[in-house]
C-alpha cells in the first residue's frame, strides 16, 4: 500500500499553498513515497523514554528589556511590497 496517495499530496499542497500541476502531483507522489519509505527506517529505533531534541544548546531565558527600538519608516516598510496603497499592503479579496 502507498504511504502517501495523490489525494494526500494535493491536500498537503493546499496546506502549503502550492498550486501544483497535475504532473507535479504525480511526480511528488512518486518521490515523496520513496523518501518516506526511506525515512521509515526510524521505526526500527526504540525511542521509549528518549527526550526529543529541540535545541542542541543548553541556553534558557534569553529575554530583552521592554525598551523601544527605532521602527522602520513607512517607506522602508513598504519598499519591497508588490502592491501598496495609502500606506498599506494591498492584497486581493478573500473568497471562501
Amino acid at each position: 500500500m502507498e504511504i502517501i496517495t495523490e489525494e494526500e499530496v494535493r491536500h498537503v499542497a493546499r496546506l502549503a499553498r502550492l498550486a501544483l500541476s497535475e504532473e507535479e502531483v504525480k511526480k511528488f507522489q512518486r518521490q515523496l513515497e520513496k523518501i518516506l519509505e526511506y525515512v521509515a527506517k526510524l521505526r526500527e529505533l526504540n525511542l521509549e523514554g528518549v527526550e526529543p531534541t529541540t535545541h542542541v544548546i543548553p541556553v534558557v531565558n534569553r529575554l530583552r528589556e521592554d525598551r523601544g527600538k527605532e521602527s522602520l519608516s513607512k517607506e522602508e516598510a513598504l519598499s519591497n511590497a508588490p502592491n501598496t496603497e495609502k500606506g498599506h499592503f494591498r492584497v486581493p479579496k478573500v473568497i471562501e
Binding site: R62, S71, L72, K86, F89, R90, E96
Partner: protein
C-alpha cells in the same frame, strides 16, 4: 422547552508592555498604518524573535491572580496558517506547554457565588489588521502585529449569557487592576470568543459546540450568546443537527453568521519554535512578582468592609478600579470619617467625573484636598450642603477648599448675628410663629428654611435650631404653649 446551557470562553488580552513581544517596536494604539513595524514584526527573511521580559512578568501576574499553576519550564511553538495579517505564515504561541494552567476565578452575581475554572493561559503574538474593501480586496496594517497577547481559556463552567457577562467583567477588572491589560473591548485590547453547547433536560449528552467571534463589548457578548442559544434551541427542537462551526457576530444586524472555512483549516502544524530557547520561571521569579502584586479587587472589597466599616455595596463601588480604591484610601488616611468619605466619593466624586467625563486621575481635587474639605465639614466651618457647592468650585477652579471658604465666607457661627437674623425671620412670619406656638411644631422646618435662605445656607444649622427653639419656646407664659 428549557435547555441547559454550557459556555466556555477564550479571552485574548493585549498586554500593557511598551514594546512588542518579540521586537522593539512600540505598542501604541492608533498610529498611522505601518509606522510601528520593523523587519522582525514584518516577518522579513532572516530576522529572529527575542522575548520581551515584561510580557512574561505581566503573564505571571495574571497567572497568580487567577490562581494558576505556572509551568516552570516552557517552550514556545509555531502555529502555522496562511493569512495576510500573519507575516511569517505562523504565529508564535504556546501549545504543548502552556504558560500556566488550572486556575480559578470566582465571582458573585445576585448573591450567588460562582467559581469558573481556568483551563490554560498562553503567551502569544497578535496579528496585523485587515481593512476589507468590498470587491477590491483588503489593505493590511502591521502596527498591531507582534503586540503581546495573553490567551485565557476557561472550562465550560458558565451557564448563562448573564454569567458570562459578569465573569468577563470580573476578569477584565482583575487584568486592569494588575495593570496587565487596558481591557478595552471596543478597541480590541480585550477580545472574547465564547463556545456554547446545549442539552435537553434529562439527557446526558451535550449537543455540538459552536464558537462565536467578533464580539466587541460585554453587551455584545451577552447578545451574541442569547442569539446563538436561541438558534441552537430552534435546531434542537426541530430535530436538526448543529454543525460544529464558528459564527461571526454582526453587531449592526444583531445576528451571527457561520464563517466559511477551507477544508484544511485547523491543521496548524504546531511544532516547537526553534528560534526561541526555553523559558524557565523559577520560584524566586514568581515570588518577586508576587510581592509586587497589588491587592485584588475582591480582597480589597472585603478589607474595606472590615477596616472602614462601610457597606458592602459601597465597598464594591469603591473597588471598581484600582485608582478609585487608591483614592479612597488616600483620603481616609488623612480624614478618619470613613462613612463620610465613602458616601462623598461615591455620590459627589463619581457624579462629577461622570458629568464631566473625566477619570479619577484627571481630577484636580487630590485626596489631600478632599480630606481638607472634610475637615471643614467636621469643624463646622461649612455645612454639608455648602461643601457640595465648594467641591464643584474646587473641581472647576483648581483651588483648595479653605481658599474658597475664605473668599465666600464660611458658616455664620456668631450667636448674636444668628439671633438677629432669626428675630427678623420671626418678625416677618408672625402668623406662622403663632401657629407654631399653638402646637404646629412641624413649622420648625419652615423657619429653618427661611433662616438658611437669608444666609445663603451659611448659618450653622445646629445653632439655628437651638436659638429658634429657645426663641419660640423660651417664654412659656407669653407664648402659652399647650401640649396636646
Amino acid at each position: 422547552m428549557d435547555f441547559e446551557v454550557m459556555i466556555g470562553v477564550e479571552v485574548h488580552a493585549q498586554l500593557l508592555t511598551k514594546t512588542k513581544i518579540f521586537c522593539g517596536c512600540s505598542t501604541n494604539f492608533g498610529r498611522n498604518p505601518n509606522t510601528q513595524v520593523c523587519p522582525i514584526c514584518l516577518g522579513m527573511p532572516g530576522v529572529l524573535p527575542v522575548l520581551n521580559q515584561e510580557a512574561v512578568e505581566l503573564a505571571i501576574r495574571a497567572a497568580l491572580a487567577l490562581h494558576c499553576k505556572i509551568l516552570r519550564r516552557e517552550r514556545f511553538a509555531r502555529k502555522g496558517y496562511f493569512y495576510p495579517d500573519l507575516p511569517k505564515g505562523y504565529q508564535i504561541s504556546q501549545y504543548e506547554e502552556p504558560f500556566a494552567a488550572e486556575g480559578i476565578l470566582s465571582f458573585e452575581r445576585n448573591g450567588n457565588c460562582k467559581t469558573i475554572r481556568i483551563k490554560r493561559m498562553n503567551l502569544e503574538e497578535d496579528a496585523g489588521k485587515l481593512i476589507h474593501e468590498e470587491d477590491r480586496g483588503s489593505l493590511v496594517d502591521f502596527n498591531r502585529c507582534g503586540v503581546p497577547l495573553l490567551e485565557i481559556a476557561t472550562e465550560p463552567d458558565l451557564t448563562s449569557p448573564k454569567d458570562t457577562h459578569t465573569f468577563l467583567a470580573e476578569l477584565r477588572q482583575i487584568l486592569q487592576y494588575l495593570e496587565v491589560s487596558s481591557g478595552d473591548m471596543e478597541k480590541g485590547h480585550l477580545r472574547c470568543e465564547p463556545n456554547i453547547s446545549l442539552k435537553k433536560p434529562g439527557q446526558s449528552e451535550w449537543g455540538t459546540r459552536t464558537e462565536l467571534k467578533n464580539l466587541n463589548s460585554l453587551k455584545g457578548v451577552e447578545k451574541g450568546l442569547l442569539f446563538e442559544i436561541r438558534r441552537q434551541k430552534r435546531l434542537l427542537e426541530s430535530g436538526q443537527p448543529i454543525r460544529q462551526e464558528t459564527l461571526l457576530w454582526d453587531e449592526k444586524r444583531e445576528i451571527a453568521l457561520p464563517m466559511r472555512v477551507k477544508e484544511e483549516a485547523g491543521d496548524y502544524r504546531y511544532f516547537p519554535e526553534p528560534d526561541l530557547v526555553p523559558l524557565v520561571i523559577d520560584e524566586e521569579w514568581i515570588e518577586r512578582v508576587k510581592r509586587s502584586l497589588p491587592e485584588l479587587p475582591d480582597d480589597r472589597k472585603k478589607r474595606f468592609v472590615e477596616t472602614y466599616k462601610i457597606r458592602e455595596q459601597d465597598a464594591q463601588t469603591l473597588t471598581l478600579t484600582r485608582r478609585l480604591a487608591d483614592y479612597f484610601e488616600e483620603v481616609v488616611k488623612i480624614h478618619s470619617d470613613f462613612t463620610l468619605a465613602a458616601n462623598w466619593i461615591i455620590t459627589e466624586v463619581l457624579g462629577i467625573l461622570h458629568e464631566k467625563n473625566l477619570s479619577i486621575g484627571d481630577l484636580s481635587v487630590t485626596p489631600a484636598r478632599l480630606a481638607g474639605l472634610f475637615h471643614l465639614i467636621q469643624d463646622e466651618t461649612i455645612s454639608k450642603k455648602m461643601a457640595k457647592e465648594i467641591f464643584v468650585k474646587m473641581v472647576e477652579s483648581g483651588k483648595q477648599a479653605d481658599e474658597i471658604v475664605r473668599v465666600q465666607g464660611g458658616q455664620i457661627r456668631d450667636e448674636a448675628e444668628v439671633e438677629r437674623i432669626i428675630e427678623e425671620v420671626l418678625k416677618g412670619n408672625s402668623e406662622e410663629k403663632v401657629r407654631y406656638q399653638s402646637g404646629e411644631v412641624k413649622l420648625m422646618g419652615y423657619f429653618i428654611g427661611q433662616v438658611m435662605k437669608r444666609t445663603d445656607g451659611k448659618a450653622n444649622p445646629r445653632m439655628v435650631n437651638e436659638i429658634l427653639r429657645k426663641m419660640l419656646e423660651g417664654n412659656p407664659q407669653k407664648s402659652g404653649v399647650q401640649k396636646k
